[in-house]
Symmetry: C2
Subunit: 336 residues, 2 copies
């Protein structure tokens, strides 16, 4: 070991031994779980690189102030809205883990879309409660949505959005994407700007939210934007609960029983995602909710940790890491 190796702090237990060993080739690795209070305080001023899953509670605002050498933060979560940008050493760059969960989260998005379109949850619960007879006629077309030839709008066209588009094409859906980066993709019509967003929302039969949570996207789905959507639209959220205005959504679901919201992600209270809501969403038949399992299902493949470790090694080798985010889009201050 040479003294020239940078110091790396791993702030999560999701990084396994094999990956710790890989990081050790390029850095001196400390793991948060192994450091007692005093040791942590001594080590913090020497740390060059930080690898986190969600932001570790041990790294308080006071701790962060001591991290004056911090140059790079790598998130294992896809999004970085959990990072306290305003409290970081201002030279530090931050990389997201965009794309690391794309296929798994996209599969989950399709699962929510299809469950809502075919009313699987609602019908199953009706059967359990013996509220259905076999020959009851469905007002099909309203009650069960056919996806073929319908328009799927995807807001945010990164890794997840691209995977969602590929899967939707298998169903014969027409795909519209709202994206700042207007790259051409076969079979996908790209929109941008406020007018573009309005067009996508107005013309879509289903919408998947696959945006990062930034200053610009917080509560992007508000009362006004909900009002331009079809009243039979299916809105799927596998990104962040805070992309949607909670009260506006609740009122909209109550007023439009054929509008459906299917989500794996939840609103924040005191900067943390929580299943607690201000309104009784789970009592509505046109709401489907699951407890943020799409990411963990991706994590279990090992790919997100592998990609985050590879990007960290890129930085440690003096190369430019991928997925560097613009801190101006995140004025997230300290959550605790």
């Amino acid at each position: 070991m040479t003294t020239s190796k940078p110091n790396l702090l791993v702030g999560t237990d999701v990084v396994d031994r094999k990956n710790i060993d890989r990081l050790s080739e390029y850095s001196t690795v400390y793991t948060l779980a192994d450091l007692m209070g005093d040791q942590l305080a001594t080590i913090l001023p020497t740390i060059d690189v930080l690898l986190v899953f969600s932001w570790p509670r041990e790294l308080t605002q006071e701790s962060l102030e001591k991290m004056t050498r911090l140059k790079f933060v790598q998130s294992i979560l896809a999004g970085v809205n959990h990072i306290p940008f305003t409290n970081l050493n201002k030279d530090a760059i931050v990389s997201s883990n965009a794309g690391a969960y794309s296929d798994e989260v996209a599969e989950y998005a399709l699962a929510l879309l299809l469950s809502a379109a075919k009313r699987i949850v609602e019908l199953h619960v009706s059967l359990r409660e013996e509220k259905w007879t076999l020959r009851r006629t469905l007002d099909a077309g309203t009650e069960v949505t056919i996806l073929r030839e319908k328009v799927l709008g995807i807001l945010g066209f990164g890794g997840i959005g691209t995977s969602v588009a590929r899967m939707a094409h298998g169903f014969g859906m027409r795909v519209y994407a709202y994206s700042r980066r207007a790259k051409a993709v076969k079979g996908v019509k790209i929109f941008d700007g406020e007018d573009g967003l309005s067009s996508v929302l107005r013309e879509s039969d289903a919408v998947v939210l696959a945006l990062p949570l930034t200053n610009q996207t917080t509560r992007i789905i508000n009362r006004e934007r909900l009002s331009v959507m079809k009243n039979t639209c299916i809105l799927v959220n596998i990104a962040r609960g805070e992309l949607v205005d909670e009260k506006a959504l609740y009122d909209h679901l109550v007023a439009n029983p054929n509008f459906r919201y299917a989500t794996d992600v939840w609103w924040y209270r005191e900067s943390r995602e929580t299943l607690k809501t201000d309104y009784p969403f789970l009592s509505l038949p046109n709401f489907i909710g699951t407890p943020h399992v799409s990411g963990p299902s991706g994590l279990a493949t090992g790919r997100p940790v592998k990609l985050a470790v590879e990007n960290t090694i890129r930085f440690l080798k003096g190369l430019r890491p991928e997925n560097i985010v613009d801190p101006r889009e995140y004025v997230t201050s300290y959550p605790y």
Copy 2:
């Protein structure tokens, strides 16, 4: 109108005025709902062609015995297992409506597959019952199934099976099909015979049943065949409940909590599909059931009636109709 026109009886109210008018160009059309008891008895011996949805209760065994001129029966339902073959005039040929619901039923199959794979129903119900906290760790890989690169077995590779394969390819699944007609399809490995069936069942991570219900396929999924399947397999049924042995399935679901069964179709009692089961399937967390809505959702598109009418006109014009079934595969006697 010339006297040479054949007589056609429409035994369902799902055929609209426009389609009745089209049929009237080639036949004298009678509709069952318009005929009183005595009129029906008089008309029956003159009927050449019968167009039905499910078998009409008014056409009793006694009525059928009077239909000595019957030459052609067209089903609007995809399957023909509802037709009392053994009581038909033995010169009559019968056409199914295979392929008429393919995309809609295939979409429904994927909805059931994804709901089960991602445990959408189970998780949603857990949240409603407040039996879940956000940070509970999923034993992912066991609890939430990733579809990418997994093997999907499709039993029966007609219209629905082909559509299911196309959709599954969008998820990056490997597709195996069990089919008597070993036609080559890109990206699909075809199996046949008893050994082929065993191979598909043994190697599949998910299986979709898309077979017609015939003598050969009744309870094709029995105790022995369940025993060769992976104990984490997801079995989806959008064809006929009777393809699966009810008791064997119940025992298997209880013994294998990670094996999942998701169905839109139910077992028969007195020759009719019913939601009543001999075992409490709906109390099992690894069972998803919906009340046979996939077909009706296809019917609502108008396509099944249109195709059945076109095939009937083909017969009326003296052409060979499509989808003629082999009556030896159906020894279905009179249901009522």
